[in-house]
Amino acid sequence: MNMKLVGGAALSLATLLVLTSCGSGDGGSGSGSGDQASSGGEVTLKMVAADYGDGPGKPNSGETFWKGVVDEFQAANPGIKVDVQVINWNDIDKQVATMVQNGQVPDILQTGDYSGFVKDGLLYKTDEVLSPNVSGDLLQKFADFGKVDGTAYGIPFVSSARAMFYNKDLFSKAGISEPPKTWDELKAAAEKLKAAGVTQPFGLPLGQEEAQGESFLWMLGNGGGYKDASGKWAINSPQNVETFTYMKGLVDAGLTTPNPGTKDRKTVWEDFGAGKVGMVNGGPMSIPIFDAAGLKNYGVAPIPGKSGPLDTTLGVMDWIMAFNKNGHAAEIKKFFDFFYTGNAAQKISDTYKLLPVTNGGIEKLSGDEKLKPFLDALPNASFYPFQDPKWAEVNPAIKQTIGGAVKEDPAKVLGELQKVAEAG
């Protein structure tokens, strides 16, 4: 027996174990419960928040933003400490899930969804942690989405809406006088742009990053959506199939981003910023990306629908919520009231171009020209069916596969997604 071989085999076996276990390692970094009351009856609130900025070290990082808010709050409220852990959007859901799985929930969580925590009784009701004058100022339609079975648990944090951006220089080069309002006009404009040498007349990101948003905007243009009026899943409704058949026509004619099912929103926005895209759906949060790329001469218009511009748009909102595991309702209430009545909400809109969720906040921003189309659209926005527990499974499936509906048979691809929604 060759000793070297035995050693090698043992080494490989150890490597095998290490490598295979890598795949399942959880990236959790939750640390302890928030119940570390130190001397003098001081209470520490542990908070987990998503990063709206460009990451650690950048001037607009979540750490910097929250430090400003917390310092001010702590100065006004001696006896309460707030310990904020900022996590980027890609990891926050998985890391919070790990915290919950291990029973180490924070006191306050700010992220994209709240609904999954409600059923197991993990959250405080909104009226236990928010003063009536604050909750009364929240946009009614938004606040309603924070309710499960009539009781509010999620507090709207920030919101966003969508509209169509178009490159004015490319439009005049192609001889288009005004942005399209209908699908026919959109196709005609795209053909002119193509003839003028624009590689992506319409930017169509149906890749993993946000396929569910782009698809929803198109569905709305034909009176469709993920659910029908009675609240049943209707992903493969005739309207939606017609919508994707139309989109497939654009793709086949080379009038869009190539292979939309593999393209992320951010990439297409960057291409728009670089002047390679004629039209693209975007939101306030895409403005900094266009600015950074140096694009100045662009306009914002309502999104074209089949027979006229959309009278509604996709509204997206993020949430803040309070976990009841550690008590601390009184302290959390102080912090929430401070956040919504002070200038913190305004600061978040200024820094990140996100839209406010309160009537007061919208009033304060109404002077901003670039934000106006989005603010106007907010009160009549449509939302993902995220309160349906199935959405948690349908959403990743849409992100992964809906791009196939503009490459293969639309009815078949949408039908598969409908099956996912109806299963179980």
Partner: protein
């Protein structure tokens, strides 16, 4: 005193054993346990789930395709890596000017982060600005930038070869060095004996070098196999497994499932683990690793 003496080895191996138990074994047990639990996307454990996670996994529409693709992916990358590395190792074993520099240069793809390499290739293949497409444009292989023809990562038939290429690119340095070390252990006199017996160059390589290289080759291929099977960053950074699941391997599916159903994702991990063990056993059988060289 004597008994204490007998316990001495434990003090030396103890820390390593504890480390392996905590860092390797415990997560494996947790993983297997999770695969039998019903866990919501939000991390709430909702009780036992029997084999339901596995049933759901196996019934995923793309599951069979993904498992088959994973095996093809491993075989393709490992075979190509080994072939390229055998040639490179032979080359780098010769004496030539600046050999040291060349050997150092070979380390670069290994030393760079795999994720970074993958992102660099993704941008080089970008349909609008990618340098590879600009070269193809100059060579007349494509008509214009920006169209579907310039978008090789957008279609599985052209994306898969690029993914394999990048995986080979980052695996070659380690494999080459392992084989170089193997070549260095072959004594000069066996070559002399071969020459005396009148063996030609090819014959010498086939009958002397390769058999003597087998221990190094086995270890290198085995480590590569496990590494490639679990390889995540290359595919994730370059295609996210898209379009659809058509460039996804089982590791990618495991990650995607994690955002919808943690229990099912754990079941995928367990299947992955089993696959690696099976592939390893098959490989060791085929390569007869523990048989003495004839």
């Amino acid at each position: 005193m004597r008994r204490l003496r007998a316990l001495e080895p434990l003090a030396w191996v103890g820390p390593a054993v504890v480390l392996i138990a905590v860092v390797v074994l415990w997560p494996v047990i947790e993983m297997i346990r999770s695969s039998f639990l019903k866990i919501s996307r939000f991390g709430v454990v909702q009780g036992g789930n029997g084999w339901a996670n596995y049933e759901k996994l196996v019934n995923e529409k793309d599951f069979a395709d993904i498992m088959l693709r994973s095996v093809i992916w491993v075989v393709a990358v490992v075979v190509l890596t080994v072939l390229v590395s055998l040639a490179l190792a032979q080359l780098f074993n010769q004496r030539f000017p600046l050999r040291k520099v060349a050997r150092w240069a070979l380390i670069a793809p290994w030393a760079a982060s795999v994720l970074m390499t993958a992102i660099i290739f993704k941008w080089m293949l970008d349909p609008e600005v990618g340098v590879i497409n600009q070269i193809r444009l100059k060579l007349g292989l494509i008509d214009a930038m920006g169209g579907a023809a310039a978008d090789q990562l957008g279609d599985a038939s052209t994306a898969m070869p690029w993914l394999v290429f990048v995986a080979v690119f980052v695996s070659v340095p380690f494999t080459t060095y392992a084989l170089l070390a193997g070549l260095a252990t072959i004594p000069g006199d066996v070559y002399e004996a071969a020459r005396m017996d009148g063996a030609g160059r090819l014959r010498t390589y086939w009958s002397v070098t390769l058999p003597l290289l087998r221990p190094a080759l086995t270890v290198a291929a085995l480590i590569n196999m496990m590494n490639v099977f679990n390889s995540f960053p290359i595919i994730w950074a370059m295609t996210h497994g898209q379009p659809g699941y058509s460039t996804a391997t089982s590791t990618i599916l495991m990650f995607i499932l994690k955002s919808s159903d943690i229990g099912e994702s754990a079941a995928m991990s367990v299947v992955n683990f089993g696959m690696v063990v099976v592939l390893t056993v098959i490989f060791l059988r085929v390569s007869r690793w523990n048989k003495e060289v004839a």
